[in-house]
Symmetry: C2
Subunit: 417 residues, 2 copies
């Protein structure tokens, strides 16, 4: 084992020496004592954000007050920040709005796609998707009795459901929040569209970790989260993209004054603004938008091909280390074994996954538990090294080997996340 570890250290060091993204780590403030494998849930903090937010508070709000909407450019912040996200997802300039939460943007996007298919009444939803996705389409069908929701899990079920010809819109995640299984976005889009249905992609676990080309793939609509790999901060606003073919044909499900053609005319009847701005609803949170704006600056110089390559390298390296170090069969990988078929996290099953995760957290290795039996670890390419990953695997091996997790304090389910 001692020899194994030394060899693994050497390999980690070599991998890190060849890491094209190694320089980005210094922009992030991950506490020294932590190995943070939860950037897939909440990305790490960049200290530069603090000065931007302080400036927004003290100099913009404090000095310009209401004038900030004009003079500090607050009014355009949702689209300005959207333009920073656009290149990462293969959207065009002016096509992405940052506003509201992913949940709310899902509601808008699915409704919008259903509007483009007035003769079809079914929403097809991935039954094992992140919960909020299913809740939102359930609500849409409750509000509009003409719509119904059907579920699929396997590819065969998707195909079978599409073949009915009733499906207006399919809502699905590209990267599964539990297993990290990644769908082929262009191929799945084409398959859905071949049956005359539209597709709404939830890119929450893809954005900032996976190469994406929404326009090139001819996707219909997408939403995503900005507080995971984009590091926008807890509860940062989400984004929404609707293909230019559709956007000007649809009336927003949640038409707020800020998405109106003439917000300050205060007309009684809604007239949508041209383009994606119509998907902005009420007054956007400038504080959150500016934090995200600052967090996005780093991405201007980042090559998404390199990001995806490193993401795959880190997760594959973790699998190797786990295989080399952990007791045989102590955990079993529940993610695709081929890196090309995954997003940037991994799930391992263990009958006491909750306690194992707590024991790791106590050692400063931060991952998370997903019911019923998953240890989930994420690999944010901008601030993790292969040495971090090795150390995390060593900690896991230790926790499993010693049975350290089997203590009452680690079994107590006091935590909400």
């Amino acid at each position: 084992m001692q020899n194994d570890t030394a060899a693994l250290h050497q390999r980690a060091t070599r991998l890190d020496q060849n890491d094209a993204l190694a320089g980005y780590r210094e922009g992030f403030a991950v506490p020294d004592q932590l190995i943070y494998l939860d950037g897939n849930s909440l990305g790490a903090f960049q200290p530069d954000i603090a000065s931007r937010v302080a400036d927004t508070l003290t100099n913009q709000w404090g000095q310009q007050l209401i004038g900030g909407w004009n003079d500090a450019g607050w009014f355009d912040a949702p689209l300005r920040v959207g333009d920073l996200i656009a290149p990462l997802i293969g959207a065009g300039a002016g096509e992405v709005a940052v506003c509201d939460s992913t949940s709310i943007n899902l509601f808008k996007a699915v409704d919008a796609m259903c509007q483009t298919q007035p003769d079809r009444t079914r929403i097809l939803s991935q039954g094992d998707n992140f919960a909020t996705d299913n809740y939102m389409v359930q609500a849409l069908a409750r509000l509009n009795p003409a719509l119904d929701v059907a579920y699929f899990v396997t590819d065969d079920e998707l195909e079978h459901a599409l073949a009915t010809g009733d499906v207006a819109c399919v809502l699905l995640s590209q990267v599964d929040y539990r297993s990290a299984a990644k769908r082929d976005l262009p191929a799945t889009t084409a398959r859905i569209q071949a049956h005359g249905a539209r597709v709404v992609w939830d890119l929450s676990h893809s954005t900032g970790a996976v190469e994406l080309d929404l326009r090139g793939s001819n996707a219909d609509a997408a939403v995503g989260c900005t507080y995971k790999y984009l590091n926008g901060g807890p509860g940062a606003p989400a984004y929404i993209w609707i293909h230019p073919t559709w956007i000007d044909q649809v009336s927003p499900a949640l038409p707020g004054w800020m998405g109106n053609a003439q917000p300050f005319d205060f007309q009684r009847d809604y007239q949508p603004h041209a383009g994606i701005r119509r998907m902005i609803c009420g007054t956007p949170s400038i504080l959150s938008l500016h934090a995200l704006d600052a967090a996005m600056r780093v991405w201007a110089s980042v090559d998404m091909v390199a990001v995806q390559r490193k993401s795959q390298s880190l997760s594959q390296w973790f699998i190797e280390c786990v295989q080399a170090l952990c007791p045989a069969d102590s955990v079993s990988l529940r993610s695709p074994h081929t890196p090309e078929q995954r997003g940037s996290h991994l799930a391992f099953a263990h009958p006491n996954a909750y306690a194992v995760v707590q024991a790791l957290i106590a050692r400063g290795v931060i991952g998370d538990f997903r019911a019923p039996d998953l240890i989930r670890v994420g690999f944010a390419p901008l601030y993790l090294s292969h040495l971090d990953v090795l150390r995390a695997a060593m900690a896991l091996a230790d926790v499993l080997e010693t049975g350290e997790w089997d203590q009452p304090k680690f079994h107590a389910k006091a935590r909400v996340t």
Copy 2:
């Protein structure tokens, strides 16, 4: 005129000496050169907020990362901040959630009230309400073809529409965003309920300026803005209150994972959390919630009776000063003349209101223009003095008397707000 001004100065000074709320001004950072009469649109900044937000960024997000949801209490922030608003609106502890925007909360509240009235199909909406209110009910009726929207403006029209017996829910503002005309909330609630309809109050222009007693008035539901008199910052999240009689009977229109009974069980089918927490949708913005939390601290010691009294004193004083100083008939008051019938702002008509407002802004007196011909000025009781109000009226008198507003730079409509 000289004598007039001296006498007015004396009276303003005396009014300020008797101002029970004068001490609160020092907590706010209004630039010295400004007289800020737009706290009804965006409340002023309190420097204490900056340290709270910096702590959230650097120490909570930066150090605790994902652990902040538990260890820094982020998960409970929407209800914790709601509990700070509750006493200002006459709601009980645990009954108010802070989340999303006013627009989105309007959508949830009206839908919730319609659910409690399954045999009625009409939403009655105030035709001259703030635009977003009407847009939201239009969208609800577009999504659910069983519902329709009818409009009223006058009290007679309201009465007439209610008499049909079809009305499920009435949506209206207590304080009009243009005229500041204030409805009698208990009496209007009783009148609507006498016809078997529910009422959703938009309290955006009331909260923090007007005494409110939602429980004592037996209101059904209310939403409100926190970035006006509550000073939560640009785009701060809104609040929603649903009467305890109804909340556990209704399914949220926008059911996100954070409002689910067991958010971390990730069940496919939505099960609402008990109480108002079900109205929380996606992941709330912690940055915005903490800024608002910090902004709300001042209210713990504030007596709402004193706030309303000062609000009325300031606006009445402005009317007096305008009458004393401005050229006869140069502007005409479009707000109720009796302070008890108003909220905390005033509207004056002028054929060139836009240019007059720009000329005032150039002099450091910040009000706003509302189409087509209104000068709107707001009086935030926590940080304005009667001397400020006098100075603002003197500036207006000067701008009108000299015709200073009639310059090309003041006519150019470049501003969005």
